[in-house]
């Protein structure tokens, strides 16, 4: 079947079997490997993407269900050299270690901030509780979201250590 999506602002399409999972479509057909696979049972959230702004675990959706929709993956968070405040927050507050959960985690946090620009700690912890991080113990992820909330929604220049060379 032909599936056409707008992904990170770009229209892309591919022919896939009806049973192909959205995460495989994104990773294999569209070659966007920032979206990860961690558990296959929608328990860990490593595969989280935004569909029309809402977090979705792409390991438990079929690609065909996303036909005609707008998808944001981690590759779509930055605007060129400008980073999304959530990316800056994760860097400044050391909210990532191995980096494997980070794309899904940042997208969930972006969606949270879009609907609630000033969340409490409990609201942050609840919002990210569908995403597992094995490295950080979550404290610095909470701080990363608070950092981003303070910054607002406007993209920020990347700090020197993570600027594109």
């Amino acid at each position: 079947m032909n599936v056409t999506v707008t992904i990170n602002g770009e229209e892309r399409s591919a022919d896939v079997e009806p049973r192909v999972l959205l995460v495989d479509f994104i990773r294999t057909n569209l070659a966007l490997t920032g979206t990860h696979i961690g558990c296959d049972t929608s328990s860990c959230g490593a595969c989280t993407v935004l569909i029309d702004g809402e977090p979705v675990k792409s390991c438990t959706q079929l690609a065909v269900q996303a036909d005609g929709r707008s998808i944001t993956t981690v590759e779509g968070l930055a605007h060129g050299a400008q980073l999304d405040p959530i990316q800056v927050g994760f860097h400044e507050e050391h909210g990532l270690q191995c980096g494997f959960c980070t794309p899904g985690m940042m997208l969930v946090c972006r969606a949270l901030l879009d609907r609630n620009p000033d969340p409490s700690e409990d609201q942050i912890r609840w919002a990210i509780s569908g995403n597992i991080c094995r490295c950080t113990g979550y404290m610095n992820i909470v701080k990363a979201v608070q950092h981003a909330a303070r910054a607002g929604a406007a993209p920020e220049p990347a700090p020197a250590e993570v600027a594109q060379s």
Partner: protein, 784 residues
């Protein structure tokens, strides 16, 4: 931010991480992200039974499926002498089963196909005819008379016993027990858990049919050691094997061993002549690759009436699964468990350990732990708290009374360890002050009056990390040293290549900081490379908190060696005598005239452009560091819990962690490592367990049954430091990645036991779930 404003990034600076740049943008390069032209995909057929004889394997239907290129069976592997492989503990393990399956999830066959979906489809069509045998799911059953023999493949193996191992002085220990006023006993099962890194294990094997060169992209924490093991297993010449560990999505010990899937994928690529990728799904990861713990332990502590400890006696049965495949130094069958005297000045100790085969997955790995130190620390810390309860002595007081005193280091323990340094009282006092111990005791007394259950848990762990020294610590004979190669380029920028491999620990930042401190080149100008065995010096890898103690030391030493060459170059440039030069970070100057100076960048340029007569050009070098001793990080953790008398739900109210890992290179990274360890320790204490039913079916084979802590239940942590430098490490640093997983489970459980102590409750085996607590409350007669 301008370049000038960047921090130098020396030791002790919490600079932000360099590696974040790619991860923030989704540009990490993990194993499954790698795609090669013509790449095939492999799926593994696994046993549904824990113990069964294989009568036959029918691959016809699978082989006829569209897209299928090959179906690999044990029989085919046997034709190439690859049906079995050696384990890291000197045993053998089936690569693909030929005779029997010995645990649920064991590898029986593999399908190689043009897509992941086609491979999985066909794997479901491989028909295996099994004769089901009775399963053994624990050491008690394994040693029972008439128990089925699991390893009938091994000549001379008449029962399910693997090893007997002892440490310490039995006679001295027995004598001390005769003199004891009180003996406190604790039997507990440290349950089987799983490291469960968020990225599963995998390989992309690419054997070039023209040259025979095998490039193996692999989720490996120890790429060099794996290369050597692969050469031994497959017979491929070692120079034709290149192991590349790309970005790794967490390891925690799970990615140390060699798994059958790696061997099969490599063999398949060799036979087919195309790249073959195999990536586990989550269930495969949880049911077949390196589990952790599963120790059934009994400890006895002999005490005088005043709480002085006289001796410790421990016996334990280890459940090793179907093959003895523990990843640990070869000499120590029960790992480093004999560190079990912990932080206490125990005059005598004796430990016996026995390992058993069971019909469970093999591969006891150290889940964020230095080879069984976690089980040891848990046992002694639980025993000490129980002793305090039994003797009516305060938990902190009994510890303070028995700690190895600060002036006793280096201290030789009753089981022969030489502790390098410590100040256990210091860490304890900080923890008591920060948690507000005196106030908590008052609050607890008031709550007990009201029938409320509040508990305070303490644990004062001592770790033993940073293997080797190579004389005593080896894996399959490979000495546990590590290495660093430093190349300073003409423009004064540098590249550092290491034999270890980060899985999230931040090596690209931390190790650059060591160069920044010791050679004066800003951390931002030092790139760090790891993981590619063709382009990094040999090393034993990253696990057991060993990277900073070994590779960190190697980095410091090679930086200093290059600095000494730099001194000669500076003397040449300044037309001064070497002995008249002073070094301050980043430059040499003439004593007394500090304006006569050359920077390290000047010196680097001169190394390629303006050398003194007869000097070898370049500013590069490699150092292999074999540590003189292990490092012994320590600390005290204090946990406060409230137990709901109606439901048994335990709420973790406070977690205060005081860690002493010597000199901290990047305090931000160290603290975050401790956060992670406290979280994994919380999971082990309260939620994580791999269980089996009586038929050996694995319960806990996905993240809906194997419960990892999320942000919602994970407590908030209050972290503090004391600093007792290691006297033998060049930087005074110790390992730290695992301290919190080692130390915290006892603190969490001690808090629950402390809460329930007035009811006579002395033990609840982990995970301390609310149903177990509820049962303990009810059996003590507590009603809602």
């Amino acid at each position: 931010m301008s370049v000038e404003a960047r921090p130098h990034g020396g030791i002790g600076e919490s600079i932000k991480r360099k590696e974040d740049a790619r991860f923030l943008r989704g540009r990490g390069n993990y194993l499954d992200d790698i795609v090669l032209p013509g790449m095939l995909h492999m799926a593994i057929v696994r046993s549904p039974h824990a113990h069964a004889r294989i009568r036959g394997v029918d691959t016809a239907e699978a082989a006829a499926m569209p897209g299928v290129v090959a179906v690999v069976t044990g029989e085919l592997m046997a034709q190439h002498n690859l049906a079995w492989m050696p384990t890291l503990s000197g045993d053998t393990q089936a690569v693909l089963a030929t005779d029997k399956v010995r645990f649920q999830g064991q590898e029986v066959a593999a399908v190689v196909a043009t897509s992941k979906y086609a491979a999985e489809d066909a794997a479901g069509l491989v028909r295996v005819d099994y004769e089901v045998l009775p399963a053994i799911t624990g050491p008690q059953q394994a040693k029972a008379e008439g128990a089925p023999l699991i390893r009938d493949d091994k000549e001379g193996q008449a029962d399910n016993h693997i090893y007997h191992w002892e440490s310490g002085d039995q006679a001295a220990t027995d004598a001390a027990f005769m003199r004891a006023h009180r003996i406190v006993r604790l039997s507990t099962h440290y349950p089987r858990s799983h490291p469960a890194p968020l990225e599963t294990c995998g390989i992309l094997a690419d054997v070039d049919p023209a040259t025979g060169k095998a490039t193996l992209y692999m989720t490996s924490q120890a790429p060099h050691a794996i290369r050597t093991v692969f050469a031994l297993v497959t017979g491929l010449p070692e120079q034709n094997i290149r192991v590349i560990s790309p970005d790794i999505g967490g390891g925690f010990g799970n990615k140390v061993p060699v798994y059958p899937g790696y061997v099969v994928a490599t063999a398949a690529s060799l036979l087919i002549g195309k790249p073959v990728k195999w990536v586990e799904d989550r269930t495969e990861n949880l049911i077949s690759t390196g589990f952790a713990r599963d120790f059934h332990m009994t400890g006895e502590l002999a005490l005088a009436n005043d709480g002085r400890m006289l001796a410790l006696r421990v016996s334990l049965d280890s459940d090793n699964g179907a093959f003895f495949a523990d990843a640990q130094p070869s000499k120590f069958k029960a790992g480093l468990f004999h560190i079990v005297t912990g932080s206490y000045d125990l005059p005598a100790a004796h430990v016996t350990a026995d390992g058993y085969y069971t019909n469970k997955a093999p591969g006891g790995v150290a889940y964020r732990c230095s080879f069984r130190v976690t089980e040891a620390s848990y046992l002694i810390e639980r025993l000490v708290t129980n002793a305090a309860i039994e003797l009516g002595i305060d938990q902190a007081e009994i510890r303070l009374k028995n700690f190895v005193p600060k002036d006793a280091f280096p201290y030789t323990s009753a089981t022969g360890w030489v502790y390098d340094s410590g100040d256990y009282e210091g860490a304890m006092h900080v923890a008591l002050e920060k948690v507000g111990y005196a106030d908590l005791l008052r609050e607890q007394a008031e709550k007990r009056e009201r029938g409320e259950f509040m508990g305070i848990g303490l644990a004062s762990f001592t770790e033993v990390v940073g293997a080797g020294h190579g004389k005593d610590f080896d894996i399959l004979g490979l000495r546990m040293f590590d290495s660093a190669e430093l190349r300073v380029h003409p423009t004064g920028k540098a590249i550092l290549k290491l034999g270890v491999k980060s899985q999230g620990q931040g090596h690209e930042t931390t190790f650059a900081q060591i160069v920044a401190e010791e050679l004066g080149i800003p951390a931002a100008d030092v790139s760090v490379e790891e993981g590619d065995t063709d382009n990094t010096p040999y090393g034993l890898g990253t696990y057991a908190s060993r990277s900073t103690p070994t590779a960190g030391a190697a980095t410091a030493v090679i930086s200093r060696k290059l600095r000494e060459k730099g001194r000669k170059l500076a003397a040449h440039l300044l037309e001064a005598a070497e002995e008249d030069l002073e070094w301050e970070r980043g430059r040499f100057y003439v004593r007394g005239t500090p304006e006569r100076a050359k920077t390290i960048q000047d010196v680097a340029f001169a190394a390629y452009t303006n050398l003194p007569e007869g000097m070898e050009p370049g500013l590069e070098g490699v150092h292999y560091y074999d540590p003189p001793n292990m490092t012994y990080p320590f600390g005290t953790y204090a946990v406060v819990v409230d137990v709901d008398r109606g439901t048994g739900v335990v709420r973790t109210r406070r977690v205060v962690a005081v860690d002493d890992c010597g000199v901290r290179i990047n305090p931000m990274i160290v603290e975050a490592q401790i956060h992670g360890g406290l979280t994994e320790g919380w999971g082990i204490a309260f939620t994580e367990q791999i269980t089996f039913d009586e038929d050996g079916n694995c319960i806990g084979s996905n993240f809906m049954d194997y419960l990892l802590p999320t942000a919602w239940e994970t407590p908030k942590f209050e972290t503090f430091a004391t600093v007792t430098p290691s006297p033998h490490h060049p930087l005074g640093a110790k390992g730290v990645g695992e301290s919190a997983t080692v130390g915290s489970p006892a603190a969490y459980v001690n808090a629950v036991i402390d809460a329930l102590a007035p009811l006579g409750v002395r033990n609840i085996d982990m995970p301390v779930t609310s149903d177990k607590v509820w049962a303990a409350l009810r059996s003590a007669g507590v009603t809602e």
